[in-house]
């Protein structure tokens, strides 16, 4: 169950894919970190992840957590974005048999789940096939 405060804390990442990048070694962190785990630098600058990428791997969820019951079955993939960062999210707007490793996808803003009939609506990124 997502509380409003937890959801709110994640807004920069869920809505805008905000990350940070180590100024010394260039590693990108998503979500952002205070300290680079490669070179221990504290000099990290704000950056934004690419909104296009390709499917590295995926699976079909048929027995979902309770917030996602109405959406099942659905595909969840690990996507390598064009900047090399790998993130996980639902792959939607395509039939399962059309999802292929290496398929080009782009980020789309979607409702992830709602907190019951009267709770908050939680939005964020999913992936859809790139049509152009």
């Amino acid at each position: 169950m997502s509380t409003p405060a937890r959801y709110w804390r994640e807004i920069p990442q869920r809505y805008r894919l905000e990350a940070n990048k180590c100024s010394s070694c260039g590693k990108i962190f998503f979500p952002p970190r205070l300290l680079c785990n490669v070179c221990q630098s504290k000099d990290l600058e704000k950056t934004k992840l690419a909104e296009t990428g390709k499917v590295l791997t995926y699976t079909i969820i048929r027995v979902p957590p309770h917030q996602f019951v109405d959406q099942a079955p659905y595909a969840v993939g690990i996507v390598e974005l064009d900047d090399g960062v790998k993130i996980m999210g639902q792959v939607v707007d395509c039939d399962f048999e059309d999802i292929k490793i290496g398929m080009k996808v782009k980020v789309e803003f979607r409702k992830l789940f709602d907190v019951g009939e009267s709770g908050i609506l939680c939005y964020g990124y999913k992936f859809v096939p790139q049509l152009r």
Partner: protein
Amino acid sequence: MEGIVGYGAYIPRNRIKVEEIAKVWGADAPSYKKGLMLEEKSVPSLDQDTITMSVEASKNALKRALIDPKDIGAVYIGSESHPYAVKPSGTVLAEAIGATPDVHTADLEFACKAGTEGMFIALNLVASGVIKYGLGVGADTSQGAPGDALEYSAAAGAAAFIFGKENLVAKAHETYSYMTDTPDFWRREYQYYPQHGGRFTGDPAYFKHIKGAARGIMDKAGMKPEDFQYVIFHQPNGKFPFRVGKMLGFKKEQIEPGWLVNKLGNTYSGSSPLGLTSTLDISQPGDMILLVSYGSGAGSDGFVFEVTERINEVRESAPKTRDLLSHNINYLEYGEYAKFRHKIRKAD
């Protein structure tokens, strides 16, 4: 001079055909198709609503505007299907495009006219010099009661326009609004589906207000129907825009580029704004475009735009509206549609 700096559209991939709805209610599909001049309509997925479509349409508008979202001083979403009863849609949009926190945001409601209301306010705030850029969005996931005539047309889509004073795609020469209190369509608090006045939604409502706004803005601008390459009227069904166009002296060819309703349905607050996006997609520098919305209750907003050279630079920067309408389509059966539109009552 002020005008449109960037525009963008968004249409969900799901469709349901008139035949599929008619089959469930024992209605005569051919007569609905002929009467409404409509073949199918768009349907949002479970994870799409007015907010998500507004974000995607606005991101497409930003791709054409090429501005820093931080310079957007006002964000308005017009819709009759804001997902929350209390909590703004516009804050999510402003946050998602990176316009916060120096931004004024409001959600607008005026049946199908709410989208052009947001555009009207954003454009005129830019004109007054209060803000550098303003974003106006029309978006809806409209609902028709099961079996009602509206169920065949109530659809989903969004169009977004960024207004500014530099690098214009289209100059805004004139705006005008025509308004009376006319109860032709309404939804009371806590009611799930809207109600309408049947034929009363025609002459004293749609036709009177569109004619009033179109004639008013043409008088104000000193223009005649033949001065426009294109005209977009609100599209509650396929017939009404052509009928009102004929009454006003416009030709079919002026209406067709922005006439999407036969394959899209009535996207309410997104309807005439989406017609404007598809018209801009095919327009040429120098073309004059008249946009007249209609919202029950009732009123119409009119805009006169002149397309600039920049249209040729930005046209391909984001998906074109008719491409969104025809690509990656997923036809639904009524059961899936009923689930997607939350028409099925589940156990707690």
